[in-house]
């Protein structure tokens, strides 16, 4: 598979003399040192990521880790100090103003943490906004907007204003606005972070359901490790502007590369991160009455163990390719260090 979004050695320095700070950074000086000496802040330090078609790629990090800066490089709301971004084989940094506008109108759309809705417009006109910018006629863009409003569960609210909606509903508007653009790439910057836990979980489920249907390439930013594990096909952990580890959720949880990642992994329910594929016993067995797909998480299997000793594991086509038992699942879930007082 080839990369849809290729982020190559992106370095971003905020401040008045980024060139000087960049030279110091290249000379191996620390970030604090550079900030003390030049007053410039290193936002990102040679970040390289390769995001493939159809995956939900989660960038996870605490506040100040540079994750929101990173996602803004993909549609060039922020320009890098050095490095490049290549999308669908095209160098985004080489685009002129018109080319960049066309790229933003047709290739990437974005959902924002603080929604960014137009307060003077109805829900319908907000969802149609991107299409309006693209130059679509009123009838055409409203038809599309209505369809997406229904998809995100806001039918009946077309005439409401954003401020009459709850936070969760407002973000549904933001999501519908981005989806209405029907771009192959969707950027989501802490899209669910401002929502209450119930709403957040529901939006996550809906995003996964939508993704099964739409197969977009999604770059998702979050500070919530649980959210990253639930949504991510792959996860990149960012800290202080540098990538600590990239991997599938179970790799991050089971084999954390650094102490920082391990600290996250310790506090998370592994049952949610580890897919059955990672713990199953391969082989031809008589079909079991209880079966789950290989991508299901251990969490899903736990409930079934009350009534079944073994659970069959199916491949993508629904054919049984192995089995899991209580023992192997529990072993995988036993957390190193969890027996310490």
């Amino acid at each position: 598979m080839s990369a849809v979004i290729d982020i190559r050695e992106v370095t971003k320095i905020f401040g008045r003399s980024p060139e000087r700070a960049l030279a110091l950074l290249r000379a191996g000086r620390g970030k604090q040192e550079i900030q003390a000496e030049t007053g410039n802040v290193v936002g990102l330090d040679r970040v390289s990521l390769s995001i493939e078609a159809g995956e939900i790629y989660v960038v996870m990090g605490l506040s100040g880790s540079g994750k929101s800066t990173l996602i803004r490089h993909v549609n060039r709301l922020v320009d890098p100090t050095s490095g490049g971004i290549v999308v669908h084989g095209v160098d985004v940094m080489a685009m002129d103003a018109a080319g960049l506008r066309a790229y933003r109108r047709n290739t990437v759309s974005m959902v924002f943490q603080r929604f960014g809705l137009l307060p003077h417009r109805s829900v319908l006109d907000n969802v149609a906004f991107g299409l309006e910018v693209r130059g679509l006629g009123r009838a055409e863009r409203e038809t599309a907007a209505r369809r997406w409003i229904e998809t995100v569960g806001l039918a009946g609210y077309e005439r409401s204003r954003p401020r009459q909606l709850s936070g969760g509903e407002q973000q549904r508007v933001g999501l519908a606005r981005a989806l209405a653009m029907d771009t192959p790439i969707l950027l989501m910057d802490e899209a669910f972070s401002a929502l209450d836990p119930l709403n957040r979980a529901q939006m996550q489920d809906e995003l996964l359901a939508l993704q099964r249907r739409l197969h977009k390439t999604i770059l998702f930013i979050t500070h919530d490790f649980d959210e990253a594990l639930k949504l991510g096909t792959r996860i990149a952990v960012l800290r202080d502007g540098a990538v600590e580890q990239v991997g599938r959720p179970e790799e991050i949880v089971l084999r954390p590369a650094t102490a920082h990642v391990a600290a996250f992994a310790r506090h998370v329910g592994r049952a949610r991160a580890v897919p059955l594929a990672a713990v199953m016993e391969r082989g031809a067995f008589a079909p079991y009455p209880a079966r789950l797909p290989a991508t299901a998480r251990c969490e899903d299997a736990l409930a079934l163990f009350a009534a079944h000793a073994w659970i069959g594991v199916d491949d993508a086509d629904g054919a049984q390719v192995g089995r899991v038992g209580v023992g192997s699942v529990l072993e995988a879930l036993a957390q190193p260090g969890s027996t310490e007082p």
Binding site: L100, R105, N106, M110, H120, V133
Partner: protein
């Protein structure tokens, strides 16, 4: 006494000669440039005078009702207009109203585009801000002099002098309103590939409208406060009555005309403010139950 370093007379003579030359060379050009103003003023004044008195009161009361959807303001507006009619100030009030409306319209046409340009260019903002300070603090009599010399006494120089006085706050508020638009909303707009024109028309102007409207309200009030001064160069209207009151030491004439100006001020201030509030509510800046 401050020592006299040099004779200022030649300097003053140079300024005066320069202005004379300007008028001799460009006078007709100035007049031609101001002719739309003259035309607008005449049209508004004749239009207002052609309306029956009750129709004008009905229109203004209707606007007040539209802006507030409550009975209080329409009643105040109707009472203020009836007061003008009953005291025999109707025609003068209409002349003043026409002057004020023309000056306000002219100010809007000039100041809003300049305010837009200021919001888009930090350099222009730095250049214009001291100019605006000067325009606002310079006593308005000072630019009455060249205005009269160019256009002769009458209503056009009065309108122009009024515009110079009323434009700065509208320019400032337009600039401010456009620049204070929520950056989150602008960022979302950029992410969808909007152009600078789309930013202005689809996001900035609608969101800055309440602020711009506050500027229009200011311009209206400042125009009205200029009418007495403008009457000194032949603008007519309620201001001229006040001027006559001073000249003849007739307290009653001055007082009644002065109250008439207050009545007009109440009508236009409250109605434009009510429209501004309505815009704010529409944007959700204040609480509003639809």
């Amino acid at each position: 006494m401050f020592p006299e370093l040099f004779d200022t007379a030649p300097l003053r003579r140079a300024i005066d000669d320069g202005l004379d030359w300007l008028i001799a060379t460009w006078g007709e050009g100035f007049e031609a440039a101001a002719s739309p103003l003259q035309w607008t003023l005449n049209t508004i004044e004749q239009g207002l005078l052609a309306l029956p008195w009750w129709a004008l009161i009905a229109i203004l009361t209707g606007l007040a009702l539209l802006a507030t959807r409550k009975p209080a303001l329409p009643l105040v507006v109707a009472a203020a207009m009836l007061f003008l009619g009953v005291l025999g100030l109707w025609e003068d009030a209409i002349k003043t109203m026409a002057l004020m409306l023309t000056a306000t319209l002219g100010t809007i046409v000039v100041a809003i585009p300049l305010g837009v340009a200021m919001s888009g260019s930090a350099l222009l903002r730095r250049v214009l801000t001291p100019v605006l300070d000067l325009m606002q603090t310079m006593p308005s009599f000072v630019y009455l002099i060249p205005a009269v010399m160019v256009f002769g006494p009458g209503r056009v120089p009065a309108v122009l002098a009024t515009m110079i006085y009323a434009a700065p706050p509208l320019m400032r508020l337009t600039d401010l309103g456009l620049r204070l638009v929520d950056p989150d909303v602008l960022e979302a707009g950029w992410s969808f590939g909007m152009t600078r024109g789309q930013r202005l028309l689809k996001i900035q102007v609608p969101l800055a409208l309440p602020t711009i409207f506050a500027g229009i309200n200011q311009a209206t009030m400042m125009s009205l406060s200029m009418v007495v001064i403008a009457s000194m160069i032949g603008a007519g209207g309620l201001g001229y009555q006040v001027l006559q009151g001073i000249g003849r030491l007739e307290v009653s004439r001055g007082l009644l005309a002065g109250l008439g100006i207050v009545a007009l001020a109440i009508v236009f201030d409250r109605v434009t403010q009510a429209f501004g509030r309505r815009l704010q509510q529409r944007l959700g800046v204040t609480d509003f139950k639809p």
